[in-house]
C-alpha cells in the first residue's frame, strides 16, 4: 500500500475536480457509501474543497473491499500514516494494508489540521471509522436478515446466521446517507489570534459526537508493529516527492536574498544574455530571483546576478554572543502566561524555606535544519486559480496565507502535499517556506515556477527556534524536599509563520504578535507551591526589512527549553540535598505512571542509587571521567525518562555520550516498533541539541549557513540506545513521536555534573565552552 493513493501524473488542475474526475484521479473504482449524484463541496461556488460532513469526503469503500481514507494531516516522517491506517482498520475491522491514504491536499481531504496534532487527527478518523462501522452493521443486518448484535466482522467481511457479505458487496448500489457531525472550520487569517501566529482554526474540523468505539481489549491492529506505508516506495525510488514535481513550461527559480537581514534593494544586477540565453530576472520590492527552463542555468545565473545586485547596508542584530544580554535588556512587562500558585504564596514559601537554590539556564537559537532545503512549485493561472505543491505540514493554513498574500479568496487556491524533508515544526502554522516565492514568481512570469532554496539560504533565512533565558528558584525544607519552585522564561517570539517571499515582496502577510506560553506539564505534585511564568518579546531584528530572526516553534517547543531549566534545577536540588537524583524525583510525585516509568527505565539503565556528583568526579586532567544523569518530562499524556552516561575529558571539554536509556509511557502504544524508531531518532536529535547546535549571527546576518558551521550529530557520535516502553490499556493515547529529543539535554548536563561536579547551565555543550566552564 502506498501512503498516497495517487500523486502526480493525473491532471491536477484546480477547478476541474468533478466527482468523476475526483474518482478517476484517486484511481478508484467508485463504490461509495453516501453517494450524492454529483459531488458536493464545502463551498457551493468553487470545487476546491470537500464537505467534511459527508462520509464520502472521508472514506470510500471500493467493490474489491479496499478503502480510501482522506485527512488533511500529513506524514512528517514519524509514521503517522501508519497509525492512521491502524486506527481506521481497527474501528472498521479491516486489515490496515487494504487502506490507502490521501493526505494533506486541500481539495481532496476534508478536515484540515496540522500534522503535529496527531492525537486530534486520529480522533477524527477514529470517529469517522466508528460511525461507518455502525452504519455498515445496520446495512448488513438488513441484507443478511440477521440482527446486528449477532454479526461479526473479520477483515471487512460481515458474518452471521451462516451467511456473510463483504463491505464492498454491501455498499454496492447502496445509498447510505451518513452525515458526519463536525464542528470548526479551515484555517483562516485572524489578526486577533491569541496564539500570536495571526491565524485561527489551525486544528481544522473536529468530528463530534461519541460513536461507540472498539474496546481496547478487542484491539487486533493497534498495538502491533504494522509497517509504515510509504517506506517501500521511499526505498525503491518510486515516491514522488515535492521536489519531483514538473509541469509543462515550468521555470526553475533561484532566489537572490538581501545582503543582510535588513538590507533594501538599491538596484538589480544584470545578466549576460550570451552566457545565460534563457534566463530571466524577476523582482518585486526586495524579492529578487532568476528563472530559467534549465535548473543549472538558473543556478549559475543567480550567482552571477547576486554579484552585481546592490543592497543597502544594515547592521541591526546584536550578534549571537550577545543574545542573553539582549533578552535581559528588553523592557519586560507582565508575563504572557503564568501558571500555578499566585505570586505572593510562592514568594512567602521561598522566604520561609530553610534554603533556596537559584539558577539561570540558557538555550541558544537553534533551527530545524532539514537535509532538504525548502522547495515549492506554484502555478498561478490567468483565470485566477492557484495551485501550490508543497511539503508544508499545514496545507489549509498555507492555503489561507497564500490567498491572503495574493488578496484572493481561499477557494481559488489548491494546495497539494507531497513528501519531502522533515519540517520539525516549522510549517505548523502554514507558513515558512518557498511557497510565497513560487506563487509571486508564477504570477509575475505567467508560468509555473519551481523554487528551490539552497542550503545556505535555508540555514540563513528560514525561521528559527529562538533563544531562551530561564530563571528558576527552589525552596528547600529542612528534610531536603522542595517546598516551592518559581520559574520565569524569557524568549523572543516563536510563532511567526509568515512566508519570507511575501515579507520581502512587500505583499500582505499574517500579523504575528509577540508572546510565549508555559509549556511544561507539571510532574511534581508533591511540591506544594509553584509559579511558572512565560514572557515573550518580538523577534530579534524584527524591525528589519526581512523581519530579522523570525522565531518559530521547533520539536517539543517551549517545553524542551522550560523543562531543561526545571530538570536542571531538580538535579541541582538533589545534589544539594545529597539525594540520589532518581530517588529525589520519586520523592516529589505521587503519579503512578511517572513512578513506574522512572523505576523501569532506571532499572534498564542499571542505575546505581547514589547522590551526584560521583565521588571520583574531577574537573581537571587529560584522563576521562565518567558520569550519569537523569531527567523526566510529562507531555501530551506521555511520561518520559532520559538517562545519559557520559565520558568527559576535562582538559579539552570533549564529551562523549556512551549510552542513553530512554523510557516512555504514552498510554496505549499504537505501533511498538515505530515508537522504538521515534524514540531512538529523537535521542539523536536531542544529543545534537545538547552537544552541537547553535545558530550564530553577526550584526548583519546569520553566519551558521552550512553543515560545517551549523553542526548536527553524526552517526559516529551516536551512543548505544536502550529503549523502555510501557503500554497501558486504560489511559488513552499519548504523544509518542515527538518529545524524545527534549529528555536528552537535561540528562547529559546532569551526567556532566556527575562526572565533574560542575553544573552546565547553557547549551550546547561544545568542548571550548565545557573546558572553560571546568577551568572555572
Amino acid at each position: 500500500m502506498s501512503a498516497r493513493a495517487q500523486t502526480l501524473g493525473a491532471p491536477l488542475l484546480p477547478g476541474t475536480i468533478t466527482r468523476r474526475g475526483f474518482v478517476k484521479m484517486g484511481g478508484a473504482l467508485f463504490v461509495s457509501l453516501s453517494v450524492p449524484a454529483e459531488f458536493t463541496y464545502a463551498n457551493g461556488e468553487g470545487q476546491t474543497s470537500l464537505d467534511p460532513s459527508l462520509l464520502a469526503s472521508w472514506l470510500e469503500i471500493r467493490s474489491d473491499n479496499t478503502i480510501v481514507a482522506r485527512t488533511g494531516r500529513t506524514e512528517t516522517g514519524t509514521g503517522m500514516s501508519g497509525y492512521y491506517a491502524q486506527v481506521i482498520a481497527e474501528e472498521l475491522s479491516v486489515r490496515p494494508e487494504t487502506i490507502s491514504l490521501i493526505l494533506g491536499d486541500t481539495d481532496r481531504t476534508p478536515d484540515g489540521g496540522y500534522s503535529a496534532g496527531f492525537l486530534f487527527g486520529m480522533e477524527n478518523v477514529r470517529k469517522v471509522a466508528a460511525y461507518t462501522y455502525h452504519a455498515l452493521q445496520d446495512l448488513a443486518a438488513k441484507q443478511l436478515g440477521v440482527p446486528a448484535g449477532n454479526l461479526s466482522v473479520t477483515d471487512g467481511v460481515v458474518s452471521g446466521g451462516g451467511k456473510s457479505v463483504s463491505y464492498g458487496q454491501l455498499v454496492e448500489g447502496q445509498n447510505l446517507d451518513l452525515k458526519i457531525p463536525v464542528s470548526g472550520g479551515y484555517a483562516k487569517i485572524d489578526p486577533a489570534s491569541p496564539d500570536g501566529n495571526g491565524l485561527a482554526g489551525l486544528d481544522g474540523f473536529t468530528v463530534t459526537g461519541e460513536p461507540k468505539t472498539k474496546a481496547v481489549s478487542q484491539y487486533k491492529v493497534i498495538g502491533t508493529s504494522y509497517p509504515v506505508p510509504g517506506i517501500p516506495d521511499k526505498v525503491t525510488g518510486k515516491t514522488q516527492w515535492s521536489c519531483d514535481v514538473t509541469l509543462p513550461g515550468m521555470l526553475h527559480a533561484r532566489m537572490i536574498r538581501p545582503a543582510t537581514m535588513g538590507s533594501s534593494l538599491i538596484s538589480v544586477g544584470t545578466l549576460d544574455k550570451k552566457q545565460f540565453p534563457t534566463a530571466g530576472i524577476v523582482s518585486k520590492a526586495n524579492l529578487v530571483a532568476v528563472v530559467s527552463p534549465n535548473e543549472w542555468e538558473a543556478i549559475n545565473a543567480a550567482r552571477s546576478l547576486a554579484s552585481t545586485t546592490k543592497w543597502t547596508d544594515w547592521a541591526g542584530l546584536p550578534g549571537s554572543d550577545n543574545v542573553t544580554k539582549t533578552i535581559r535588556a528588553y523592557p519586560w512587562g507582565a508575563p504572557t502566561e503564568s501558571r500555578g500558585a499566585k505570586g505572593p504564596e510562592v514568594r512567602a514559601a521561598l522566604a520561609s524555606a530553610a534554603k533556596t537554590i537559584s539558577a539561570t539556564y540558557e538555550v541558544p537559537y537553534v533551527r530545524h535544519a532539514p537535509i532538504g532545503p525548502f522547495l515549492a512549485v506554484a502555478d498561478v493561472r490567468s483565470d485566477g486559480s492557484v495551485t501550490v505543491w508543497t511539503h508544508s505540514s499545514q496545507s489549509q493554513g498555507l492555503r489561507a496565507q497564500i490567498a491572503n498574500t495574493l488578496s484572493i479568496s481561499p477557494e481559488k487556491v489548491v494546495v497539494r502535499w507531497l513528501d519531502h524533508s522533515g519540517q520539525y515544526g516549522r510549517t505548523t502554522f502554514g507558513g515558512d517556506g518557498a511557497e510565497a516565492d513560487a506563487v509571486i514568481l508564477s504570477k509575475l512570469t505567467g508560468k509555473p515556477v519551481r523554487v528551490q532554496w539552497t542550503l545556505q539560504e535555508d540555514l540563513a533565512w528560514s525561521s528559527v527556534s529562538p533563544a531562551y533565558v530561564i530563571d528558576v528558584k527552589a525552596g528547600v525544607d529542612t528534610s531536603g524536599r522542595l517546598s516551592a519552585i518559581q520559574s520565569a522564561s524569557y524568549t523572543p517570539h516563536q510563532s511567526d509563520a509568515r512566508l519570507l517571499g511575501a515579507v520581502l515582496a512587500g505583499m500582505p502577510c499574517v500579523t504575528p504578535k509577540a508572546g510565549s506560553w508555559v509549556a511544561t506539564e507539571w510532574p511534581y505534585d508533591k511540591i506544594q507551591n509553584r509559579l511558572e511564568e512565560a514572557y515573550g518579546m518580538p523577534s530579534i531584528g524584527s524591525d528589519a526589512t526581512s523581519s530579522g530572526l523570525r522565531g518559530n516553534i521547533m520539536r517539543t517547543p517551549g517545553q524542551r527549553q522550560q523543562n531543561f531549566a526545571l530538570e536542571g534545577l531538580m538535579n541541582e536540588a538533589a545534589a544539594s540535598a545529597r539525594v540520589d537524583p532518581v530517588q529525589f524525583r520519586l520523592d516529589h510525585t505521587t503519579d503512578q505512571r511517572l513512578l513506574d516509568i522512572l523505576n523501569k527505565t532506571a532499572k534498564a539503565a542499571g542505575w546505581e542509587a547514589r547522590p551526584s556528583p560521583h565521588r571520583s568526579a574531577r574537573k581537571t586532567g587529560n584522563a576521562a571521567v565518567t558520569g550519569r544523569g537523569v531527567c523526566i518530562m510529562v507531555r501530551s499524556n506521555a511520561y518520559w525518562v532520559g538517562i545519559a552516561e557520559v565520558s568527559v575529558v576535562p582538559a579539552t571539554g570533549a564529551i562523549q555520550v556512551t549510552r542513553f536509556t530512554i523510557g516512555a509511557d504514552c498510554g496505549k502504544v499504537i505501533n511498538p516498533r515505530q515508537l522504538d524508531r521515534c524514540m531512538k531518532s529523537g535521542v539523536a536529535m536531542g544529543l545534537s541539541e545538547a552537544l552541537k547546535e547553535e545558530v550564530t549571527f553577526d550584526e548583519e546576518k546569520v553566519t551558521s549557513t552550512n553543515w560545517s558551521r551549523y553542526k548536527i550529530l553524526t552517526m559516529a557520535e551516536l551512543p548505544e540506545i536502550k529503549v523502555v516502553q510501557i503500554s497501558r490499556d486504560d489511559k488513552g493515547f499519548g504523544g509518542g513521536s515527538e518529545a524524545a529529543n527534549a529528555v536528552v539535554p537535561p540528562a547529559v548536563v546532569a551526567a556532566l555534573f556527575d562526572a565533574t561536579g560542575v553544573h552546565a547551565r547553557r547549551l550546547p555543550l561544545a568542548p571550548p565552552f565545557v573546558a572553560g566552564l571546568l577551568r572555572g
Binding site: T78, V228, V235, W296, G372, G422, W707, L713
Partner: protein
C-alpha cells in the same frame, strides 16, 4: 554550452544534451527523471545526492556530468538489477527482488522523512562491497569519516541504519 554526453546509467546507455560541467545530479533528475538522488547541500556536505560511479560513492551534486562519461552510474533505482545480475536471478525472480540493502531498509523501517536515505543506501552498498561483515564501529566510521563528509540524517535514523546495514550484510551472505 550544451553538448551531447553519453552516459551509462543503471545499465542503460543514455544520450543527454547538457553542459558538460552540469552536476550529474541535475542530469539524472531533470533529463533522465531518476529522482532517487536528491539535492541536499549542493556542496558535498550531506550525502543526499550520492550515487555509485563504477561502484564508488560520489556526491552527484558536485560531480560534473562529463566526469561520468565512460563510467557506470548507479542510483537506487538501479540497485535491484545489480543484485539480480550478481545472483543470476531469472527475470521473474528479478522482478520481485530488491537489493538486500533496500530490503533491509524496509525490514528495519529505516526512513522517517526519508530524504537522506537514498544516499544512505548508496553508502551502505559501497561499504558492504568492501567489507561484507562490518562491525558497528566500522559502519559508524564509514558513514561519518569517509571523505568528503559525513552522511547526515536530521530525523536521527542512525540507529536504524546501523541495524539495516547489519541485516543486509547477513542476507547478502546467505
Amino acid at each position: 554550452m550544451a553538448s551531447e554526453l553519453t552516459l551509462t546509467v543503471n545499465g542503460a546507455k543514455q544520450v543527454v544534451s547538457s553542459a558538460p560541467e552540469t552536476p550529474l545530479l541535475f542530469v539524472l533528475r531533470n533529463e533522465l527523471k531518476l529522482t532517487g538522488p536528491r539535492l541536499g547541500c549542493g556542496m558535498a556536505q550531506c550525502g543526499a545526492c550520492s550515487v555509485l560511479l563504477d561502484g564508488e560513492e560520489v556526491r552527484s551534486c558536485v560531480t560534473p556530468a562529463s566526469y561520468a562519461v565512460g563510467k557506470k552510474v548507479t542510483t537506487i533505482e538501479g540497485l535491484p538489477a545489480i543484485w539480480a545480475a550478481e545472483k543470476k536471478l531469472s527475470d521473474a525472480d528479478a522482478a520481485r527482488t530488491l537489493h538486500p540493502v533496500q530490503q533491509a531498509w524496509i525490514d528495519e523501517q529505516v526512513p522517517q522523512c526519508g530524504y537522506c536515505q537514498s544516499g544512505m543506501m548508496i553508502a551502505a552498498v559501497e561499504l558492504l562491497a568492501k567489507n561484507a561483515n562490518p562491525t558497528v564501529a566500522q559502519i559508524k566510521d564509514a558513514f561519518t569519516n569517509k571523505a568528503p563528509s559525513p552522511h547526515l540524517c536530521r530525523c536521527g535514523t542512525y540507529a536504524a541504519i546501523i541495524d539495516a546495514v547489519q541485516r543486509a550484510a547477513q542476507s547478502m551472505k546467505g
